[in-house]
Assembly symmetry: C2
Homo-oligomer: 299 residues x 2
């Protein structure tokens, strides 16, 4: 059994709890809750809630499922690796994934553990699909379209802007991998809408996209965590053009993110020391059960 | 550069030639042609054609791309591994994949080489998709639908029946992973249709499917090598039901099979000694180019 800890108990952390409860090869040792997070629900009263530094106070932890906002993930992973704990996170700031991976790779090897970075659905399982499609058609163009649906990373980024009480960022596919962002914000008393909107539009999460910011009274009435992706590739196998392939899904976003994290935690403990993205890990390592049985059933 | 040999020069072998020509990190050392195969086309006159035993007569070979009918693949892979050559094949007899993999795993380790078995699109890349979908939704049902289109493996099996001069097996999706087979056969002079049809229906390739056999005058006028697959899964992430995902493609079948084989050959030379299916190999290993560049671009 893999002894796990959940770090962060927001939308994704709560779903990670459910994924671990449903995993035949995992137990939950403890939850690390941020001070700002809501209280742990009463039905989880038997789960130990602690700080990172005391994560092993009541028994061992093999792997930590980091369910924090992206910007907190790499340093948290580093702290946990330095304690000898395997880590997974869904860090999603695309332009920094490689540099953070390389930094954590050194930390992981020094501590003889492994970590998986960017293990959500995009980056994450969508990355595996893009890589697989290129193996099938080395030349061609891949378009990744998201939504329509709420982006958790973008919503958290918008909520962090000065004067913003709460925010919802919707991703609207405009075709051929281009997206518009519609950001609904609920202001703090006395905050300036124009300043908040400008801060959001200049955030690295939004600066490359056509972004509309709209003020609303109450974000909570708008929230639906469904989303999706649609990956299309038309390419060339050898000298044969017009090979057409596509993947699409309609999913509950935090539930899928958490499930991929938990499946990746299973893979993390099987890898040689280092920090990996999902495209560097055999997919079979994410699945529970006997390896030969999986090969018989899935290949 | 990876020095390759193509074993078998039928539909898939010819496409493997094109995939290797288009690979930036591979050269072709030679082609091993079966006696029954058509002559090598004149524009390939500069390629050495040889027997397996003389495969290294004019220079080294790192990896062999086996493009033979399934039933010939495992023994051919064994012979090549015993010569210290890495192998890939698209062996597609599902019920024997595990046992042949385990047998070849021992051979590969003894010879300090690696092989990839069942590396076409199904089994192959479709297997990776099925495994990935289970990592995203551990509970649920996956349906794999094929066609409509020609099945190369089934056509070869039908052609092997007593009295059959040439055959084309079409795979017709009947929904929810159920298929019908329509087998067109061209008889040898004086052959008995009823006996040939019965032999085909009792072949392991056909015995589990609703199979119709139809006699025609000339198979060649019917041949189109386009096909496809459509994989659908509805499942549960953690405790969240109704997570819906699907993959579909419309492709030239031998071109895709050959491209996956060639991409898998690239992966084979990077694996520790052993014999692998595609779900056991990191997808990134199938792609050419700098590893960090691939992570930056695809994750």
């Amino acid at each position: 059994m893999i002894k796990t800890a959940i770090i962060g108990f927001g939308n994704v952390g709560k779903c990670a709890y459910e994924a671990i409860q449903n995993a035949p090869d995992m137990t939950l040792s403890c939850i690390v809750k941020r001070q700002s997070a809501a209280d742990i629900p009463p039905h989880l009263n038997d789960i130990r809630v602690t700080d990172i530094k005391d994560i092993r106070a009541n028994g061992d932890v093999d792997a930590a499922v980091i369910c924090l906002p992206s910007r907190m993930c790499p340093d948290t992973a580093e702290s946990l690796m330095n304690m000898g704990i395997f880590t997974v996170d869904s860090y999603d700031i695309h332009k920094s994934i490689l540099s953070e991976k390389l930094r954590l790779d050194t930390v992981a090897q020094k501590n003889n553990v492994s970590g998986v970075i960017a293990a959500g659905w995009d980056p994450g399982t969508d990355s595996v699909l893009r890589a697989l499609m290129e193996a099938m058609t080395p030349r061609g163009i891949t378009y990744t379209n998201f939504g329509p649906g709420m982006s958790m990373g973008h919503s958290v980024a918008a909520k962090a802007a000065e004067g913003v009480e709460n925010a919802l960022s919707m991703t609207m596919p405009a075709g051929a991998g281009v997206h518009r962002r519609i950001v609904y914000i609920q202001l703090k008393p006395g905050a300036d809408f124009a300043a908040a909107a400008a801060a959001i539009k200049n955030d690295p999460y939004f600066i490359n996209d056509d972004t509309n910011v709209i003020q609303v009274e109450d974000i909570d009435t708008l929230i639906d965590v469904g989303s999706g992706s649609h990956i299309i590739r038309k390419g060339v196998s050898g000298s044969t053009h017009n090979q057409i392939m596509e993947f699409s899904m309609k999913i509950n976003n935090p539930a899928l993110t958490a499930q991929v994290l938990v499946s990746a935690a299973r893979a993390a403990v099987k890898q040689p020391p280092g920090c990996y993205t999902l495209i560097e890990i055999p997919v079979i390592d994410m699945l529970p059960g006997d390896r030969n049985d999986l090969i018989s059933r899935l290949v």
